[in-house]
């Protein structure tokens, strides 16, 4: 009844389009899940008896430790940036997002390369100080190393969300605590952390999903996790059924995490408080506190961005430049694919989010869940689900052509369409969230005002919603763009002929240990992502200034 009411209120066209998009997103996943109901794969018992506990332990340790450390690091930094003023703060407030520009697998190669026996650190110690230390001090390729990599390159998710949350909090909250005689660390642990729990948990659950889905780092470090196990059983043993079972177990872990997140957030949602409140005023730091804050923030920036970049520059220099033309070519492919796909995905997300806005909260929650599904499923699983779907479509086209003589001449599998579609399945959730939070910021009254002024849903969308969504669309576009630039498993499995992106090429070189050749490509990739992050943060800043004026 409620649904019917809403459909009447909205426009059937939007609902139909949304239903179509949702169906498209679901089919590839269903294709895979169907395999679960068949009989267990031939290797299932073997995997269960000898390997499962190991996968489970490793995945859990990685996910929880990285999630927790990223939460503390991200929240702590967000607090420092939001509450204090010190030289360099302006730069750090976006500089600390930059580690996100470096894909964790590239970070892993760089750090391993740096600390290895043949890396610059040990070579330097050996040649200049005749110092040869036990290798265990430099042992990076283990769970601890992986946790470090994930934490240092993924914490910005927590940082971003917590910082945004804190910037909307009232200054009087802090001032009253200070007046009550609490010192800053008490305020952080007793007031700020519990208050921003929702944002911290949301950010760190993003980190945990990324960790659980990561393939590059764990493969390189030789750590067995669910993701490597899925690859191993599926592609190594050719046993889809067992791989799907593992994938479903990984998804269960995700669902438990999401449930915990809900629990930890205490059912509270962000309230986009109006501009009436006086935002946090930053306190100027002096003396040793200033130095400490700078040391900490710049330290994180150094390890999360500067050091790896410098190392890559050095390697790029060692490899004497590589082939500039080739690199530009891959950059162009990455750029066009990322940009084009981001536009398409965002278009879909806008349609779905607009419908969600016109719907009951139940429906809009459901839509949010479905769109985020692709983000929680391992990339390899999506890849094969999409491949199967496209093959089915091709079959249908072929059938229409031969059966009815309809001239279609269309092959989707092995084309760019297939890859872009897979990106859509994976990143629709991010796009949806961007658009949706944009809508939440706008509120309902503009939409309603336009309706009472005689404009229908669709006209209102183009004249009011779309222009007002621009900042949200812009940052959504850039976020997806960065994700696609870094994306690996889908691109590796589904790419069309003669297709190389910066990420795949860098990974190929790196996994061949031609890390010097990988360096150029990684640098270009990092440059693009950095530029995108700069645009996001500075676009928002300009916007904020305009409102304040």
């Amino acid at each position: 009844m409620q649904l019917l009411k809403k459909i009447k209120q909205g426009s059937p066209g939007w609902f139909l389009l949304t239903a179509g998009i949702i169906l498209l997103l679901l089919i590839p996943n269903l294709n895979i899940i169907i395999n679960l109901f068949g009989k267990a794969g031939e290797n299932w018992e073997h995997v269960r008896d000898y390997l499962l506990i190991n996968y489970f332990q490793n995945s859990l340790i990685l996910v929880l430790a990285s999630g927790l450390l990223a939460a503390f690091l991200g929240a702590g930094l967000a607090w420092i940036i939001a509450a204090y003023d010190f030289p360099g703060r302006n730069f750090l407030s976006w500089g600390l997002i930059l580690p996100l520009a470096i894909p964790p697998y590239i970070g892993a190669y760089v750090y391993q390369g740096m600390f290895s026996y043949t890396g610059p650190l040990q070579t330097f110690l050996r040649n200049d100080f005749q110092l040869q230390l036990s290798q265990q001090y430099f042992d990076f390729m283990n769970i601890r190393g992986a946790i470090f990599i994930y934490t240092i390159f993924l914490f910005p998710y927590v940082f971003l969300m917590t910082k945004a949350f804190l910037s909307r909090q009232s200054a009087s909250l802090l001032e009253s605590s200070r007046l009550l005689g609490k010192n800053d660390s008490t305020i952080f642990f007793k007031i700020i952390l519990p208050l921003s729990r929702g944002a911290v948990v949301a950010g760190s659950s993003l980190v945990m999903m990324e960790v659980l889905n990561d393939y590059g780092v764990v493969k390189y470090f030789g750590i067995s996790t669910f993701t490597t196990a899925i690859f191993k059983t599926w592609f190594g043993m050719g046993d889809l059924a067992t791989a799907v079972r593992l994938a479903v177990m990984a998804m269960l872990v995700i669902f438990v995490l999401l449930f915990l997140e809900k629990l930890l957030r205490g059912g509270r949602k962000y309230s986009y408080s109006t501009s009436n409140i006086r935002p946090l005023s930053r306190r100027k730091l002096k003396g040793s506190k200033k130095v400490l804050a700078q040391f900490f923030c710049y330290g994180v920036f150094f390890f999360g961005f500067l050091l790896p970049t410098i190392q890559l520059l050095y390697w790029s220099f060692l490899s004497r430049g590589g082939e500039l033309l080739g690199t530009l070519n891959f950059a162009l492919t990455s750029f066009l694919t990322g940009g084009g796909a981001a536009v398409l995905i965002l278009t879909g997300a806008v349609i779905v989010a607009t419908t969600a806005r016109m719907s009951s909260s139940f429906i809009s929650n459901l839509l949010a869940r479905i769109t985020i599904l692709g983000y929680s499923i391992p990339g390899a699983v999506i890849a094969v689900g999409v491949l199967l779907f496209m093959l089915q479509l091709d079959q249908i086209f072929l059938f229409l052509q031969t059966g009815f003589g309809i001239e279609i001449n269309l092959v989707l599998s092995s084309t760019l369409v297939m890859l872009i579609f897979a990106y859509a399945v994976r990143f629709m959730g991010i796009a949806f969230n961007s658009v949706n939070s944009g809508y939440q910021k706008i509120g309902e009254s503009y939409f309603e005002a336009s309706r009472t002024l005689g404009k229908g849903v669709t006209e209102t969308f183009f004249k009011i919603d779309l222009p007002m969504l621009k900042p949200a669309l812009m940052s959504g576009f850039l976020l997806i763009f960065i994700e696609i630039m870094k994306e690996l498993p889908l691109t590796m499995i589904l790419r069309p002929f003669n297709f190389d992106t910066l990420a795949t090429k860098a990974f190929e070189y790196a996994s061949d240990e031609m890390i010097y050749r990988a360096a150029d490509l990684s640098l270009v990739l990092i440059f693009f992502s950095t530029a995108a992050i700069y645009l996001i943060t500075h676009h928002r800043r300009r916007k904020n200034n305009a409102v304040e004026n």
Binding site: K5, K8, Q9, G443, S445, Y446, E448, A449, S450, R451, T452, L453, G454, K455, G456, K463, I464, P467, M468, A546, V547, N549
Partner: protein, 211 residues
């Protein structure tokens, strides 16, 4: 009869019960009516139902003799010719004052449109503000622009949602006076919602108490 509401019932959420129950109201053409009640009494919801922003669970709404809701019919908000001034004004921030006011009358020719915008700005005493943007206006100015925008298409019914709640005491008196003048000037049938009975008295409106 400009507005007739029969046995109107509505709930946002079945579990929380009806916020509007068997509500009846008749408003004559040119009349000014004030719905007065505490928050949660459903007065704003009646406005939203009248405007077509919510769909009633049962009951009937007729505007200028035509059924807007009820009898298994539902007229969408954009087809009702009902104007509404929102509590937060909802001026489109990306459009200039001129474009905001012209938003509902883009079926007119360009010259007619311009003339009408100018006339409305005169009416609300804000001549020369065409090129400004909403964020460059004070709260009182924003409200008057919102009113001008709402009046532009010549609505059958004007709805004002808590028009004085965002204003400080000093400004309030002036705004009430201005608003009253404009409404009487245009002669539009008006329903306003307020939690303050003083507002109703000031606007010389017929009071309808809601509980």
């Amino acid at each position: 009869m400009q507005l007739k509401i029969d046995n109107l019932t509505f709930a946002y959420n079945k579990k929380e019960g009806n916020i509007v129950e068997n509500f009846n109201l008749e408003v004559q053409k040119g009349e000014v009516v004030a719905l007065v009640g505490v928050s949660g009494s459903g007065k704003s919801t009646v406005l939203r139902l009248t405007a077509g922003l919510e769909i009633p669970d049962s009951g009937k709404i007729s505007i200028a003799g035509q059924t807007a809701a009820g009898d298994h019919k539902f007229k969408a908000a954009e087809k009702r010719k009902v104007g509404m001034v929102f509590q937060d004004y909802a001026l489109f921030p990306h459009l200039s004052v001129e474009k905001n006011i012209a938003f509902g009358i883009d079926h007119l020719s360009k010259a007619n449109r311009k003339a009408r915008v100018r006339r409305l700005l005169e009416l609300v005493n804000l001549e020369g503000f065409e090129k400004r943007y909403p964020h460059q206006l004070s709260g009182g100015q924003q409200q008057r622009i919102a009113l001008a925008r709402t009046l532009a298409p010549g609505p059958e019914l004007l709805l004002l949602d808590e028009p004085f709640s965002n204003l400080d005491a000093e400004l309030k008196d002036k705004i009430r006076r201005d608003l009253n003048e404009i409404i009487k000037d245009v002669g539009v049938t008006t329903i306003l919602v307020s939690h303050d009975r003083e507002d109703a008295e000031f606007m010389q409106a017929r009071e309808v108490l809601m509980s």
